[in-house]
């Protein structure tokens, strides 16, 4: 729901405990979505983002609701971070009318313009130039809004990445390119498809600043994104941010990730988990108590269950929805 999304958006922008809670929510939703597919309650496919919660939440904390964001099919986390509700997301995945776009899109297709989320992209790289275009709107109209493109490491090998960055650079567009380097594109480890380790290096070719960021630390993601957005709003052009992160699940529903070197997942999970790390920091600072942690855990679990129940109670998208929203209605007077 749009009004709820706007309120949830603001929480993440202003409150670090809310950011912690949102990360917990993303993890819980992704785990539940995997179960729904495993139970056969949903057909098709899904791409979950456990392990990457800090990138989603850190970016959402830095961007304003008036900024435009593009992201990928692995978009449940970014959508929740930007404010979409668990019901918006789960409802969409289950093909229900309460879903983000009314249940005609499914897992890969979420959208909420009220919090800046353009339709999520199921084609690799497609969102990168589109974010540059959203930044063009801001530049031409002279507003102080900006745009953010969130995409994967594998996407930095497609033409759209290079064309989008180059265009944004020569036009000095207010856009931030956020590469979630989770080390894999589908079943291929990054070293098999990409001749460099640090994708931030690619910014050099386009004369734009870049930064390597610890993608498991929401404060670091927030700080780097905010700095890049300030730079963009000041008219100084785009930045490429490389978030070093890790995808806990396989690429998609059916993938058990047999190609991962032994111990790699465990290493990230045990030592660099974004939720554990952030919780420890907030507790050490005295910002969060163990009691609050428990309470958040319970509230989030209940919220996700309620979303599943509400989604199941909502009607499936009906046949008539197939014919809706295909072309925009003619404007008055044309």
């Amino acid at each position: 729901m749009t009004s709820e999304a706007i309120a949830r958006r603001e929480q993440v922008r202003t409150d670090r405990v809310a950011r912690y809670e949102r990360m917990v929510e993303i993890r819980a939703l992704e785990d539940r979505v995997q179960e729904l597919f495993a139970e056969g309650l949903v057909h098709g496919t899904t791409h979950t983002a456990q392990g990457q919660e800090a990138v989603a939440v850190g970016v959402a904390a830095a961007a304003r609701a008036t900024d435009s964001v593009t992201c990928t099919y692995r978009g449940h986390g970014v959508a929740l971070a930007l404010g979409l509700t668990p019901l918006d997301v789960i409802g969409e995945i289950m093909g229900r009318t309460v879903g983000s776009i009314g249940g005609v899109g499914g897992s890969m297709h979420l959208c909420e313009p009220a919090v800046g989320l353009l339709p999520t992209f199921a084609i690799v790289g497609a969102g990168i130039p589109v974010a540059a275009g959203a930044a063009l709107t801001a530049q031409v109209r002279g507003t102080d809004t900006a745009a953010v493109a969130v995409f994967g490491d594998g996407s930095s090998n497609i033409g759209a990445f290079h064309e989008g960055l180059n265009l944004a650079a020569i036009w000095s567009l207010p856009v931030v390119f956020v590469c979630e380097n989770n080390q894999y594109g589908e079943y291929s480890r990054i070293n098999l498809t990409t001749p460099i380790t640090d994708l931030a290096d690619r910014a050099t070719s386009y004369g734009m600043p870049s930064q390597i960021v610890d993608g498991q630390d929401p404060d670091a993601v927030h700080a780097a994104t905010e700095k890049a957005l300030d730079h963009a709003r000041a008219g100084s052009g785009p930045t490429l941010l490389e978030m070093k992160t890790y995808r806990y699940a396989g690429h998609s529903r059916a993938d058990t990730a047999p190609y991962r070197p032994e111990g790699e997942f465990e290493d990230w999970y045990d030592n660099r988990d974004p939720i554990n790390g952030f919780r420890a920091r907030l507790e050490a600072e005295g910002t969060l108590t163990p009691e609050q942690v428990d309470a958040i855990g319970h509230e989030v679990a209940a919220r996700i269950e309620a979303a599943v129940t509400d989604a199941e109670a909502s009607p499936r998208a009906g046949i008539e929805t197939m014919f809706a929203n295909i072309v925009a209605p003619a404007t008055e007077g044309t």
Binding site: A122, E186, F323
Partner: protein, 339 residues
């Protein structure tokens, strides 16, 4: 003869061509180590090695372009485009480069390139991963477009495509990858391009199917009461086999195409316009096209099932055509939907 799923038949066709000709190479995303996202190249890396079987980055324009260059200088590359939609970022290399090289070299160069792509709805992959999109390709002189309907044609058309000296696209309906059937393999099983197959015989109507709709057409013909049908598997949609289709319609007097694509611009327009013009005055009923509605492919099992014409609907449409001698309404014309 061996019982195989369509994806296994495709692997077998690739292996047979690679054994026969060391110039055949193949590449695409996760086709080598993983054996293909749909397991259509299982075992090829082990048999033919990493020089001939390669994984690529996510760079369709790059690797399809490289295939054009390799094809015009001596190799016979086969590239996999995982979902036909991804051809969108590489279409120039196929339609504007590969398809024109022979012409623009004054006939001196050939481009023996095969592009395979999975197509179609039915698995819940949503709007950007469920289209058939042969319409992007047909009407491009210099290109041939074949569509597999099951394991046997998956094997035979692919081998013909690899042997052809022109760029050929072989489309593979994703829902059929898991279809199992007895498959004839070997040189006798190669299916020539540009030739359709009559897969059922009847008297009153000619049903033309392509790819995933061939099985639908056969099912529909099996349910017929009061009429019987020739069912034609078009096999190659560009250029298509006029002789086989016209010969059949001359006997039956009625032509029906069953298409998975939206009504507007579908491949059936080509067929029905030629049949209508060539057999003008000799038809017992107007040419009928049975298609999906003019909408994006929806998500959700029940919507997707409604989107793609099913056998029951095809039978009902033909019942109407045969008994009234005029076109039946489309299901979406009934007034309850459409606005």
């Amino acid at each position: 003869m061996a019982k195989m799923r369509m994806n296994q038949a495709i692997s077998a066709a690739l292996a047979d061509e690679m054994r026969a000709d060391p110039d055949v190479v193949m590449f695409g995303e996760d086709v080598a180590v993983a054996g293909g996202p749909f397991k259509t190249s299982d075992g090829l890396l082990a048999e033919f090695g990493p020089s001939r079987v390669r994984d690529t980055p996510i760079s369709e324009m790059g690797f399809l372009g490289a295939a054009v260059g390799a094809a015009s200088t001596g190799l016979r590359p086969v590239v996999e485009i995982m979902f036909i939609e991804f051809l969108g970022v590489a279409l120039d290399q196929l339609a504007t480069e590969a398809a024109k090289f022979h012409y623009l070299s004054g006939g001196k160069l050939t481009v023996p390139l095969t592009v395979r792509a999975s197509t179609g709805a039915g698995l819940g992959f949503g709007t950007q991963h469920s289209q058939t999109l042969e319409g992007w390709l047909i009407g491009t002189p210099g290109l041939k477009v074949a569509v597999a309907s099951g394991p046997q044609t998956g094997y035979g058309l692919l081998r013909a495509a690899i042997q052809d000296d022109n760029p050929v696209v072989v489309l593979e309906p994703r829902v059929r990858y898991s279809t199992r059937a007895e498959v004839n393999v070997g040189d006798d099983a190669v299916i020539p391009l540009g030739v359709a197959a009559r897969v059922a015989d009847g008297n009153d109507v000619t049903i033309v199917g392509l790819g995933g709709t061939v099985l639908t057409a056969l099912d529909a013909a099996g349910r017929a009461q009061g009429w019987s049908a020739d069912v034609i598997d078009l096999q190659t949609v560009y250029p298509w086999d006029r002789a086989t289709v016209l010969e059949s319609v001359q006997r039956t007097g009625r032509v029906v195409t069953v298409e998975e694509n939206p009504f507007g611009g579908g491949w059936g327009t080509d067929i029905t316009s030629v049949v209508g013009a060539e057999l003008f005055g000799r038809l017992a009923a107007p040419p009928l096209r049975i298609t999906a509605p003019d909408v994006p492919v929806p998500y959700g099992k029940h919507l997707e099932a409604r989107y793609v014409p099913d056998a029951e609907y095809v039978t009902a449409q033909i019942d109407h055509l045969v008994s009234h001698g005029e076109l039946p309404p489309h299901w979406w014309d009934d007034g309850e939907v459409g606005q």
